[in-house]
């Protein structure tokens, strides 16, 4: 690019820790052209966020220092200008959009005021004018009622709307460059698509340059002009999007592209033929017209007693040995269904029958059976493990309580379990804090396996993980189900993963099942409009398959689920 607005040269950042110095960014050089969207990809911890924060000299800790390098903006070296001048650059020249709008928006300040704040400060406008300008921006980023919504607080909006507000805040100072740090990871696929489209629109309208950070190559493929790949603080590859996607040079990039879920992988094990074996197979799990309602707003005297139907009349049968995926956007009731099935949440009405035992009728017997024969794997690998117990202690406890293994055999069994999930045996002595996300997730799976269950329910168990690690875990599940004749219910909102792993898929929407069937069929020929929109929202790694061609494109703003206001933690 000749007309670079921003050019970074040999940017080096080091951390000065007690344990020694670590180089976090190693002589990174990059150019950003005018009106260009640059995609910055790389695994977690590769230095993507750090790179962007270094540009505006907002390092997360005083222990980190920019050691050398230059960042040229309009002929000025941002690394050498004074602090006062830097204030002008931040916001005024370079705007930032953050990954998690919920934590980055001031919860006690009105949305409009947060946008107006920058306008007043950078453009020296009066309160009245700033308000008008902020309202204008709210409209631009897609608030349907900007005048009214000016006075709302962040928590009154859905995640998508919050991210729009965040973008509004960044736009408020009229910057030349926008840095968007994983602006959609916290969002649903459908909403992710809207936000990405908004970014592109803004680029087109304002002629902005954007640096888009992500670890999702699909997003890059859909939105960016150029791609830069970071790994371990080094820039390992950079170039036009199509060139990189088509001809990646670095093995890491190749791996990254290959593990992208939107690539139609080989379909897993064929469906066990149910009817053909002659003998009628009894379903392992039968769910009949299940309802779960929550009192929203809480206690006796608080708020209006409002009922939320999290699961509204679900009926489902799951055969032994089957792998079933449940998909649906956030809040569609997937987790609630899983918990209700496992007896962890009270059922409002309906029946759950596990292996012939009706849980409502034989409550204690049913629960005892459930506890012995089912297990759950959780989304957040850190929170799912007791931080005070070592992995060995944790597994030993499960084995002891379950009592299926003789006391003397417990250590051997622990080793076996660790082998099974691909963890070194020395992990038995480690606590979750000293393990990576993927390792924790494996430990979580080991714990589920320790029960020796017939049924495992995995609730979003890969959502928090890197793509590369995601792929490993999926592979692990595939192996386990094949080896141990497990029945697996795999919950996700990422359809691509489900397509890779599951024979059958169930689509949930607002507490109901809107579609179910064999994965290939559902994905190839979705019958329900909602399923279709979900599928269309997956950013494809093929840049020529545009995002959200038609499904949910225009009227998406109405379908954004407004989340119920929750009590502050």
């Amino acid at each position: 690019m000749s007309g670079a607005v921003l050019s970074v040269r040999d940017l080096t950042v080091r951390a000065h820790l007690d344990s020694g110095r670590r180089t976090l960014l190693d002589a990174v050089s990059l150019d950003l052209g005018k009106g260009e969207i640059l995609g910055l990809v790389g695994e977690s911890g590769s230095g993507k966020s750090l790179f962007c924060r270094s540009l505006v000299r907002l390092l997360p800790s005083p222990l980190l220092k920019i050691e050398s390098g230059s960042v040229l903006l309009d002929g000025r070296d941002l690394m050498r200008i004074g602090d006062g001048e830097m204030l002008e650059v931040r916001g005024g020249e370079i705007g930032m959009i953050f990954q998690n709008p919920t934590s980055h928006l001031d919860p006690v300040m009105r949305i409009g005021d947060q946008i107006a704040e920058g306008i007043r400060y950078h453009q020296g406008l009066g309160a009245r004018e700033a308000r008008t300008a902020a309202t204008e921006i709210l409209a631009q980023v897609g608030f349907p009622d900007p005048v009214g919504q000016y006075d709302s607080y962040p928590h009154e909006f859905s995640g998508g709307m919050r991210q729009r507000a965040m973008i509004g805040v960044a736009l408020s100072c009229n910057p030349k460059i926008l840095i968007a740090d994983e602006p959609t990871t916290a969002l649903d696929v459908t909403i992710q698509a809207q936000i990405l489209r908004l970014l592109m629109e803004i680029r087109d309208r304002r002629g902005l340059s954007i640096i888009l950070i992500t670890h999702d190559l699909g997003i890059v493929a859909q939105t960016c002009d150029r791609i830069a790949v970071l790994r371990g603080g080094k820039l390992i590859e950079e170039g036009p999007k199509r060139a990189i996607l088509a001809r990646p040079q670095h093995p890491y990039t190749i791996n990254l592209i290959n593990s992208h879920p939107s690539l139609p992988g080989e379909i897993s094990a064929p469906l066990p033929d149910i009817g053909e074996a002659g003998q009628p197979v009894r379903p392992l799990l039968e769910i009949d017209d299940l309802h779960v309602r929550f009192k929203a707003g809480g206690g006796l005297f608080k708020g209006g007693p409002r009922n939320v139907s999290a699961v509204a009349g679900v009926s489902l049968q799951i055969m032994p040995g089957e792998t079933v995926g449940i998909v649906g956007e956030s809040g569609s009731g997937k987790s609630t269904l899983a918990r209700a099935v496992l007896g962890l949440t009270r059922i409002s009405s309906g029946h759950v029958t596990f292996d012939g035992v009706d849980l409502a009728q034989q409550k204690s017997a049913g629960l005892a059976k459930l506890r012995r024969e089912t297990a759950m794997v959780f989304q957040d690998p850190y929170n799912a493990l007791n931080p005070r117990l070592t992995i060995g202690q944790m597994l030993a406890e499960v084995l002891k309580v379950q009592g299926k293994v003789a006391k003397a055999d417990i250590p051997a069994r622990i080793d076996e379990l660790l082998d099974l999930v691909g963890l070194e045996r020395e992990f038995a002595g480690r606590k979750p804090r000293s393990m990576s996300g993927g390792q924790c997730q494996r430990a979580g799976i080991a714990r589920a396996l320790a029960v020796d269950p017939k049924l495992i329910i995995a609730d979003e168990c890969v959502a928090a993980l890197d793509v590369t690690i995601q792929a490993q875990i999926i592979e692990l599940f595939r192996e386990l189900t094949a080896k141990m004749n497990l029945t697996l219910i795999f919950i996700a909102h990422d359809l691509a993963i489900v397509r890779n792993l599951c024979e059958r898929v169930v689509v949930m929407y607002r507490g109901e099942i809107v579609e179910q069937g064999r994965s290939e069929e559902v994905f190839a020929r979705p019958r329900h409009a909602y399923t279709a929109s979900l599928i269309a929202a997956i950013p494809d790694i093929d840049p020529d398959k545009p995002l959200l061609q038609d499904a949910g494109g225009k009227d998406d703003r109405q379908s954004i689920p407004i989340q119920p206001v929750k009590r502050m933690p």
Partner: protein
């Protein structure tokens, strides 16, 4: 509560160097513990022996902290006082801690009616002026250390119960609690083995500042006349009794007063340091 990554098992020396507060706090506490243990050996005089010859003497070489109106040596009384005050601080926090932790755990974990009942009780006790409740209980049981401990336990547990309960409410819906339920663990195992150890850090930190509160409550109770039995040396009583001489014999109140402050300082420092170590935020 958030858990910060800490370097795995740092050597204790590095721990102290990196956390001067820990060193100061633990050092002060250790100092008083040693003082208490060695009291019979190092105290120059019998703390309750009266000597009409040396009444109200200002600090001198013979009596470095001076003497009181009975001619008792203040230094010796301060040294012996360390025994009682440490004991007061420890017993004064242990029972509230145990009661509060148990109640908080049970209430937070079970929720519902149990929780509602306990929390109303907490509300009631919190709505009661603290010192007044103490005074009444001590008046009922008769002045003395035993009554003081009982009063502290009856009144002090609420803070711990609240802290623990709040933690339990968060933790019980944590994934590992749900996991424990789904694995068929018994409730008491989940409560006490899995959740409590994770919930208790905040209370431990709080107990350090609570220790100060215990010492001060003891002093206030002494001021209102219901402190420990004479002629026992206890700092709060010494300060309260020395009030009569505050303009003539300042040393009677100053030294026990400083002792309370330094012990309180030690506890606070230790509390702060523990808070950082355990990753607890107030």
């Amino acid at each position: 509560m958030s858990i910060e990554a800490i370097a795995p098992a740092p050597a204790w020396r590095r721990l102290f160097v990196r956390r001067p507060m820990l060193a100061v706090g633990a050092g002060l506490l250790l100092f008083f513990v040693l003082l208490a243990i060695a009291a019979p050996v190092i105290a120059p005089y019998d703390p309750i022996l009266q000597n009409a010859e040396v009444r109200l003497q200002a600090p001198s070489l013979l009596h470095p902290f001076g003497t009181d109106n009975f001619g008792r040596d203040i230094l010796s009384r301060v040294i012996w006082g360390a025994r009682l005050d440490l004991q007061m601080a420890l017993i004064g926090i242990i029972f509230p801690f145990l009661i509060g932790t148990t109640v908080g755990t049970v209430a937070g974990f079970f929720g519902g009616i149990v929780d509602a009942l306990f929390m109303r009780l907490v509300d009631i006790i919190l709505a009661f002026p603290f010192l007044v409740l103490m005074l009444s209980i001590i008046a009922i049981l008769g002045p003395g250390l035993g009554s003081f401990y009982i009063a502290m336990a009856l009144v002090g547990w609420v803070s711990y119960a609240r802290l623990i309960r709040a933690q339990m409410l968060v933790l019980k819906s944590s994934d590992y609690a749900v996991a424990a339920v789904s694995l068929g663990f018994s409730r008491s195992r989940i409560m006490f083995r899995h959740l409590l150890p994770n919930a208790v850090a905040g209370s431990i930190v709080f107990s350090m500042s609570d220790a100060t509160l215990v010492l001060l409550s003891g002093a206030a109770v002494s001021y209102l006349g219901l402190g420990v039995q004479p002629p026992i040396a206890e700092w709060g009583v010494m300060v309260a009794e020395g009030q009569s001489f505050i303009t003539t014999a300042w040393w009677i109140t100053l030294f026990p007063g400083l002792s309370i402050v330094s012990l309180a300082f030690g506890f606070s420092m230790l509390g702060d340091a523990l808070g950082e170590l355990l990753g607890v935020h107030e």
